[in-house]
């Protein structure tokens, strides 16, 4: 059994040892990838890790702990929503917090989400494709939570108009806010 702790952030450097082990694994090998207090990071590194986990011959456990944010949340959710027989994604058993948001481009410390841009910008096609990938995962998650179109209806209470909690969550996510969920 091999253990790889990828803590703090997802970068080419922090995932490199795990990538090598996943690539070199034989049938019967067991690899645990721990993502404790991970704040996310690199798009490339996250995708390399997802692809290496999918393609490896090893049995893989992905274990999250404390907080799992952004790129780390993307990796964790990917294998919950698109499961593989040889991969188990789980917590350590202790409560953890998942923080998920739409991808963005950082330009001079300013954040550009897809709906901040237009189709004349260099980033449009690429960010659109990645945002659709993220939105699909999010919608699977919402459906699992019980979201239906009926949750868009306004609830009247003492002459006040209230939104369902799942509508608040969706509105926040599609307004480019962080989606936070215990796990």
């Amino acid at each position: 059994m091999e253990y790889f702790e990828i803590k703090d952030e997802i970068t080419p450097a922090t995932v490199s040892a795990a990538l090598a082990a996943l690539d070199d694994a034989y049938n019967g090998n067991e690899i645990t990838i721990q993502l404790p207090y991970n704040g996310g990071g690199s798009v490339d590194a996250a995708i390399w890790l997802i692809e290496a986990i999918k393609q490896t011959k090893a049995k893989v456990t992905i274990e999250v702990d404390r907080y799992v944010i952004s790129a780390a949340a993307f990796i964790y959710l990917w294998f919950i929503i698109y499961p593989e027989l040889h991969v188990e994604a789980k917590t350590t058993g202790e409560p953890a917090i998942l923080v998920y948001h739409r991808p963005r481009v950082i330009i001079d410390e300013h954040l550009a989400f897809l709906n901040d841009l237009n189709d004349r910008t260099d980033e449009w096609e690429t960010l659109k494709e990645f945002t659709e990938i993220f939105d699909k995962l999010f919608e699977y998650l919402m459906a699992a939570c019980g979201y239906t179109a009926a949750n868009e209806n306004i609830y009247e209470y003492s002459q006040c108009a209230l939104k369902h909690q799942l509508r608040h969550v969706r509105d926040g996510y599609y307004s480019n806010q962080d989606f936070v969920m215990p796990t």
Partner: protein, 53 residues
């Protein structure tokens, strides 16, 4: 924060094999476009800009 625990609802998630296949194809397509975008940034001298998570 949504007061629903992911561990309690994860068994309700049902992506089909086709959905999964499409997701990996889309991931591959994104990777190719992202490499092209990086080349545009390099050509414009804007290497510090990138899609981020």
């Amino acid at each position: 924060m949504l007061n629903i625990n992911l561990n309690k609802v994860r068994n309700n998630i049902s992506a089909s094999a086709n959905n999964k296949k499409e997701a990996y194809e889309k991931l591959k397509s994104f990777k190719e476009k992202n490499e092209q975008l990086k080349a545009v940034y390099v050509a414009k001298g804007q290497k510090q800009i990138k899609i981020s998570l």
